[in-house]
């Protein structure tokens, strides 16, 4: 849910909505068609983008699958779900959503799997750049803060005792 609207609902208990609050809600609902178009644009290019990330990461980390059975397939899955949560967060205009629904948990899992923060930063920077190259400037601008969230959270896991990438 949109955090700003949730806050308005909570703050407006026992009174009527002020004009400024109504405007904020209307501004958000008016933005929904553009957000849905952005989501559709990403959906249409999802496979191309993620495959491109995978190809570049395979070149950077040729030994990765020695450590992780079906490692690249699992990475594809991780990137795919991260991207879908990214888009969902953009639709709901909620910068906290990805962290709560996915990223904190995924960060623990990747850290336990011996991934390095550098590996994750590279993966999700490539994802960000891949999206940028495959959607319009306007759509990219809507997604950018949410794409940055993936890099920020997953790229700051602790260094593993033994890197397995």
């Amino acid at each position: 849910m949109n955090t700003e609207i949730e806050n308005i609902i909570r703050d407006s208990e026992c009174r009527y909505l002020e004009e400024g609050e109504q405007k904020k809600i209307l501004a958000y609902t008016a933005s929904l068609p553009a957000r849905f178009r952005a989501a559709a644009a990403v959906e249409a290019r999802e496979e191309v983008v993620i495959r491109g990330v995978g190809e570049q990461m395979r070149r950077l980390y040729p030994n990765f699958e020695r450590y992780h059975a079906k490692g690249w397939e699992k990475c594809h899955r991780d990137i795919q779900i991260s991207l879908r949560f990214t888009v969902q967060a953009m639709v709901w205009n909620n910068l906290e959503m990805q962290e709560d629904k996915l990223l904190t948990w995924l960060a623990s899992i990747l850290a336990s799997s011996g991934f390095t923060p550098k590996f994750n930063r590279e993966t999700y920077t490539l994802l960000r750049d891949g999206i940028k190259a495959n959607v319009s400037q306007e759509i990219y601008a809507m997604l950018e803060p949410y794409l940055a969230k993936n890099i920020d959270i997953l790229g700051n896991i602790p260094e593993p005792a033994m890197a397995l990438v």
Partner: protein, 219 residues
């Protein structure tokens, strides 16, 4: 990409994500988690009251009572968690990778308010698992203590891992935040290997020294 369609779709995101984790039916006065299990909030005054009452009633045995209660609780919790996660992800918990299991357990601890958990399995080959918990249950609410205060949590950890390992394990606290440490630490192993740990803790041996001593002892 070949093979993706055949992989189990276990990635539905975080089972414990806050917005979906708990729902309260105010009219009925019932809170349930997303799997439908009834949940209850226990405030710090309840926890303090419980500890004080046990100390009053049981004296020096209070910690043992809390630990035993925690172990029974941990066992039941582990059974329930296994079912809830397996149902949610459509994949048996026993088939989860260690990393995913660990990720889920860390989130389970956090979302139950038991503190932020970190596992150290680097001594697993010596039969030891080490746990670090920041903001543990009692350490942040007890004013003064003569010794470690996380007997409930050590019992919970022992119960959880006894279930998942299929053998009786014990857990002893080796470091407590009431002494000024940044986190509470625990060691998990076979009961016979941890018999001396409470004595070592009382004698002032620190966590690292205890772990080193345990690594020398072969069970």
């Amino acid at each position: 990409m070949a093979g993706i369609a055949q992989m189990p779709s276990m990635f539905r995101g975080n089972f414990f994500n806050e917005k979906d984790w708990l729902k309260t039916n105010v009219k009925r006065g019932v809170t349930r988690n997303r799997a439908g299990t009834r949940m209850l909030s226990l405030s710090s005054d309840f926890l303090i009251g419980l500890r004080n009452a046990l100390q009053f009633e049981c004296g020096k045995a209070a910690d043992a009572v809390l630990h035993t209660a925690g172990k029974k609780w941990g066992l039941q919790f582990a059974i329930r968690l296994e079912k809830e996660l397996s149902d949610f992800y459509g994949y048996a918990l026993s088939s989860f990778s260690l990393a995913v299991f660990e990720g889920c357990l860390i989130e389970a601890f956090s979302h139950h308010g038991w503190g932020r958990l970190k596992l150290d399995i680097s001594k697993q080959d010596k039969g030891l698992i080490i746990f670090c918990v920041t903001n543990p249950i009692y350490g942040t609410i007890v004013d003064k203590a003569e010794g470690p205060v996380e007997s409930l949590l050590s019992g919970i950890i022992a119960g959880i891992f006894s279930h998942y390992s299929g053998q009786d394990l014990e857990c002893e606290q080796t470091q407590c935040i009431t002494t000024g440490a940044a986190d509470a630490r625990f060691v998990l192993s076979l009961p016979s290997r941890l018999e001396d740990v409470p004595t070592w803790v009382k004698a002032g041996k620190n966590h690292d020294a205890i772990v080193a001593a345990l690594c020398e002892v072969r069970g």
